[in-house]
């Protein structure tokens, strides 16, 4: 990975050249910033040491300057209401920078999408779903008592829930983050939505969903509940999925029965009703992520999350029809690059995948 820092003096020079039409300064700064954003703490420290040895840069481009502020990307959120009808995207009810609407569903998805955008940008230098500033379009109040949230390839859509089994699907930040991550996957490894690749697609959405929730709540791997959708499935003892203990998110629910997710390959099953069990078998890679994060400790996003993100973006190692084994190899390869072969992180990842039978 090549990275050059840019000094304030250098920036002035480049700005002058830019004004003369030499090149797009915005693009260069944005590219450097995004590359910098993908570095881990050790790499950033190493870079700083090298920079210092090379004579120092008094004021790097990574410090905020007036010019910087102009090129730092920002989210562009648009929230619509379907007004309990089928029309999409519906009526525009809130846009970027506008004040809270007072409608809890509108404001929930606005805030959750903002936290999701911030997560991807601050940790990975990723500018929105497509890494090119794509607008975050969300529609709430879809149909009447609609028990679902989904990504349609272009936007997110949320139902109000029936109020008995499911509350509004805007109730959990991890659900919004899950749906947005389906978009990110679409623009990266673009995993086919069936069988193991489909289960990986679902798992990545849950894994990033839980990390975004953990960041929003400042939870580390020990304080997190590792639950997805605990406010959406009505009842204090219920959630929709658990990464910590797949198969236990809800037990003896009067309508849904017991969470059927396996935590190990021995429980893998091909459910033809759900594209080969995409929402079922995702419990296996979900649990692998949990185990790796627990063994590593701290905040899941700092190390294991970095590895998972890089694996998700590695289309050479993760083809569209990737198996669990291929994704395992991708995470190990990325971990070796970031942390080394014998590192505690790489060992934790290997232990985790082995423990779930992959």
């Amino acid at each position: 990975m090549r990275l050059q820092l840019i000094s304030a003096a250098e920036m002035k020079s480049k700005l002058l050249k830019s004004n003369l039409g030499g090149f797009s300064e915005d693009e260069e700064i944005r590219s450097r910033r995004q590359t910098y954003g993908k570095l881990n703490t050790d790499e950033k420290n190493l870079l700083a040491r090298l920079q210092f040895k090379a004579g120092g840069v008094k004021k790097s481009a990574l410090a905020r300057t007036k010019v910087d502020e102009e090129v730092i990307p920002k989210p562009s959120r648009l929230v619509y209401s379907a007004e309990n009808k089928r029309s999409l995207p519906g009526k525009l009810v809130r846009e970027e920078g506008s004040k809270a609407s007072g409608d809890i569903d509108i404001d929930n998805v606005y805030d959750s999408a903002g936290a999701t955008w911030d997560f991807y940008y601050s940790l990975f230098g990723r500018n929105s779903i497509d890494n090119a500033g794509m607008k975050l379009i969300q529609t709430v109040h879809y149909l009447n008592k609609y028990d679902n949230a989904f990504w349609d390839g272009k936007q997110m859509i949320y139902g109000d829930g029936d109020g008995k089994i499911f509350a509004s699907f805007t109730s959990d930040i991890d659900i919004t983050a899950h749906e947005l991550t389906h978009g990110v996957v679409q623009y990266e490894c673009n995993l086919e939505y069936k069988d193991q690749s489909g289960a990986l697609n679902e798992s990545l959405a849950d894994v990033f969903g839980i990390m975004i929730k953990q960041k929003a709540l400042n939870h580390d791997v020990r304080t997190s509940d590792w639950l997805i959708g605990e406010n959406t499935l009505v009842g204090d003892e219920y959630a929709i999925r658990s990464l910590k203990a797949p198969g236990t998110a809800y037990v003896n629910h009067p309508d849904l029965g017991t969470d059927p997710q396996p935590a190990h390959m021995s429980g893998y099953s091909n459910d033809p009703s759900d594209n080969g069990g995409v929402h079922l078998n995702s419990g296996i890679p979900n649990h692998a992520f949990y185990l790796a994060a627990i063994e590593t400790g701290g905040f899941s996003r700092d190390k294991i999350g970095q590895v998972w993100y890089r694996a998700m973006c590695n289309t050479e190692l993760v083809p569209v029809n990737a198996t669990f084994s291929q994704f395992k190899e991708a995470t190990l390869a990325e971990s070796i690059i970031l942390f080394g072969t014998g590192s505690t992180v790489t060992s934790a990842i290997e232990h985790a995948w082995n423990a779930v039978g992959v």
Binding site: N148, F150, W151, D152, F169, H182, S273, D274
Partner: protein, 99 residues
């Protein structure tokens, strides 16, 4: 004297969704005019049984709908809804969906 009534059940299945839990609803078509059965059957021999998501669709967590009739399962398509009598039946079945 006992009569054995031949049941011709149409089953609507809703799969997928964020929670990934299927829902079902059934209707006995023997209680409906023969015309409905005939119109419905027209779709089954020509349909290709496929229970996986479209490869070109980028929808994720969306509900998908299937019909089961006489032991065959097919994906519910828009052209099936073009017949008013079938559309009305499907709308009623959707309202009756349960886990």
């Amino acid at each position: 004297m006992a009569f054995k009534i031949k049941q011709m059940k149409l089953k609507l299945i809703q799969t997928g969704g964020f929670a990934g839990k299927s829902k079902y609803a059934e209707e006995d078509l023997s209680l409906h005019p023969v015309q409905l059965q005939q119109e419905l059957e027209q779709h089954f021999p020509t349909a290709v049984a496929d229970t996986t998501a479209s490869k070109t669709s980028h929808s994720r967590d969306a509900f998908e709908y299937f019909l089961e009739y006489k032991g065959m399962r097919i994906a519910l398509t828009d052209d099936m809804k073009a017949t008013p009598v079938i559309e009305n039946l499907l709308e009623r079945l959707k309202e009756q969906l349960h886990y």
